[in-house]
């Protein structure tokens, strides 16, 4: 592997296994030796039927769950031996999350939700970070809704706030778990277009879990998971141009 490859490598999983209820009669292995590489600037669709291990894999990628065995290098550094605090700091620096149910904090306004990661990183939000958050909300088309609470926003708008929040710390990689799964077709297309635009404009890498083959078709690479194994990992035939 050349030096250029190493710097371009964002994620490298090798022989990753994950079992639940380890050591008990109900022990079940849900990932059976996953090998996956994500390079900077990729836009990957992670597909698979329910129960195939997509969410578990995404949680492992996001350092929210620990794998049972295997190796995981994030940004060129192994994460196996790190304790919880170190994992949290890595997560804060490297990763952004977008969940299916947008998961904004209802007690905070849209702008406050977006600035939360900065607040937790430094205990305060600088003027520059504030401006950055505003420009992100502006970029996702929510300039008029910054001071609204999540309860006052539509599903699509909430998801756009969640996307802005995932980007506020400028992470190289955003993990999205069915970001459009809870939206109607029009909003879904809008949100997906937004992700693509961010990818193009900022060079942020995306791993997007989706059930929707039409959306998956607009990604650059398709990884399909079946029964805890990677069944398919190939570039999409046609380059996506959905803007």
């Amino acid at each position: 592997m050349s030096a250029a490859d190493v710097t371009a490598e964002l994620i490298a999983l090798d022989a990753v296994r994950k079992s639940y209820n380890l050591g008990r009669p109900s022990e079940a292995e849900v990932l059976h030796g996953i090998r996956l590489q994500v390079r900077r600037g990729e836009f990957i669709a992670l597909m698979g039927p329910s129960g195939s291990g997509k969410s578990t894999l995404l949680n492992i990628l996001g350092l929210l769950e620990r794998m049972t065995s295997g190796s995981y290098r994030l940004g060129g550094e192994g994460v196996e031996g790190l304790d919880d605090a170190a994992l949290t700091l890595r997560r804060r620096r490297t990763l952004g999350f977008v969940f299916q149910f947008h998961h904004l904090l209802p007690a905070f306004s849209a702008l406050e939700n977006v600035t939360l990661p900065a607040l937790m990183a430094e205990g305060r939000v600088s003027t520059a970070q504030h401006e950055h958050a505003r420009s992100l909300l502006d970029a996702v088309g929510l300039a008029q809704a910054m001071d609204k609470r999540p309860g006052e926003l539509s599903g699509g708008m909430q998801q756009r706030v969640a996307i802005a929040r995932a980007l506020v710390m400028n992470p190289p990689l955003v993990l999205a778990d069915e970001p459009t799964g809870n939206l109607d077709t029009a909003s879904s297309a809008e949100v997906f277009a937004l992700l693509r635009r961010i990818h193009t404009e900022r060079g942020t890498s995306f791993v997007v879990v989706t059930h929707d083959p039409r959306l998956a078709a607009r990604c650059d690479r398709l990884v399909e998971l079946i029964d805890g194994r990677i069944a398919r990992d190939e570039p999409m035939p046609a380059p996506a141009d959905f803007q």
């Binding site: 949680n59 996001g62 929210l64 769950e65 919880d84 605090a85 949290t88 700091l89 997560r91 804060r92 620096r93 999350f97 969940f99 998961h103 904090l105 209802p106 007690a107 905070f108 939360l116 990661p117 607040l119 937790m120 990183a121 205990g123 305060r124 939000v125 600088s126 003027t127 504030h130 929040r165 710390m169």
Partner: protein, 412 residues
């Protein structure tokens, strides 16, 4: 530059604001607890200082007397021999504190001592016409004695003066003998050698707060008592008043090791009162402890529910990069805020309760039973303890929140 408060504080306050009803109820609960603690503390404090003031108002904090006369033992027994003696205790005659004139300035120089008053006291009779009353005769230097028991403030009629041939008497005694200010009465003392009597003019009547004392007390100049009680130039006791009544016991013990006198603190002469006060203090502490425990349990139960309700939000915060420590502190801050707000509200409530007590609870004479106040130091102490309890109450829920597995919490 726009500066936001810390992450923990901000999230904690928002969580509290979000659970409005829950937060309000627990703050009111804490306030009720704090109010009870502050009110009970102030009440017992008021009661105790009132009792103490009444008790110590008419007596010295430390008295110093000549040592008892002892029977001098026979020659020490030979080793191995049995001793078969029965010793009859000696009758204690009135004796002077040896060298008391030199002792007074010495005691006055002690930093704890506020005043020293020599006294000659003994028993006698007060006679007027056909009437006679048994009395406790006290010879004092008025100014010094006033410093010890505040005699001048206890005068109910006349003006306190003690020139030669003058006396101050208790109110009840004056009534029994039918004397008024300006009248004369005869004071008589007796011993094996015969009786001595003196005629004195009453300058003032005093109320010492206890009827029995008022019925027996006759105060005359030191010199007059010395001759009436056959103790020329002597003082049968020295009364000490202290700046802080609670050091009496310690000081008495310290003095006992230095001087060959019989030294007694007010605690020793009022052992029953002291044990009653102690019992009261212990009861107060128990009540405070129980109420604090209830407050802690209340805060903890509300926060436990809050952790369950906010599991998903905690999971999101963790996914976004909040450390376990940050999540822990978010809940500890909530406990502290609830404790602090409850304290402020509770102290206001306690002040209101105290106001109600002093305005509506009155003695048979229409005056407040005794004054109770909430000293700022006590209020601060109660508020601090309640806030610390708030934090302690939050420890278990906070640990639970911090231990949540983010991936699972998000799925909830």
């Amino acid at each position: 530059m726009l500066i936001w408060p810390g992450f923990e504080l901000r999230v904690a306050l928002r969580f509290l604001r979000e659970g409005r009803m829950q937060t309000l109820l627990i703050i009111v609960g804490v306030a009720a607890g704090v109010a009870v603690i502050a009110y009970i503390s102030a009440l017992i404090n008021g009661l105790q200082s009132n009792t103490l003031a009444k008790t110590l108002g008419a007596q010295a904090h430390i008295t110093l007397r000549a040592p008892d006369d002892l029977v001098t033992p026979a020659a020490p027994a030979m080793p191995g021999s049995a001793v078969l003696t029965e010793t009859q205790p000696r009758a204690q005659r009135l004796r002077s504190v040896a060298n008391w004139q030199a002792l007074v300035p010495l005691l006055e120089r002690l930093p704890e001592v506020a005043g020293v008053s020599p006294m000659v006291s003994g028993s006698g009779l007060a006679l007027r016409g056909e009437a006679s009353q048994a009395i406790a005769l006290m010879g004092v230097d008025l100014d010094r004695y006033d410093r010890v028991v505040g005699l001048r403030s206890k005068v109910v009629s006349g003006s306190a003066r003690l020139s030669p041939g003058e006396a101050i008497v208790g109110r009840e005694l004056a009534k029994d003998l039918g004397v008024r200010v300006g009248d004369r009465l005869t004071v008589q003392t007796g011993s094996a050698n015969g009786t001595v009597s003196d005629s004195v003019r009453v300058t003032a009547l005093v109320d010492l707060g206890v009827k029995d004392l008022n019925r027996r007390t006759v105060i005359v100049p030191l010199r007059a008592a010395q001759s009436l009680l056959a103790l020329p130039g002597g003082a049968s006791q020295l009364d000490l008043t202290l700046k802080d009544v609670w050091v009496a016991q310690t000081l008495a013990r310290a003095l006992q090791t230095q001087f060959p006198y019989k030294i007694e603190s007010w605690q020793e002469s009022n052992a029953q009162l002291v044990s009653a006060l102690n019992a009261q203090s212990i009861s107060t502490s128990i009540i405070r402890g129980v109420v604090l425990a209830v407050v802690v349990l209340g805060i903890a139960s509300v926060l436990v529910v809050s952790v369950v309700q906010k599991s998903r939000e905690i999971g999101i915060l963790r996914a976004m990069g909040a450390t376990r420590g940050q999540v822990l502190r978010v809940f500890l801050v909530q406990g502290a805020v609830v404790g602090a707000l409850g304290s402020v509200l509770g102290l206001l409530l306690a002040v209101a309760l105290i106001w109600v007590f002093t305005h509506f609870v009155r003695g048979s004479d229409g005056l407040p039973l005794f004054s109770i106040t909430l000293p700022p130091a006590m209020a601060l102490q109660v508020a601090l303890i309640a806030s610390v309890c708030g934090v302690l109450a939050a420890v278990a829920p906070a640990r639970r929140a911090a231990a949540l597995d983010p991936a699972q919490a998000i799925r909830m």
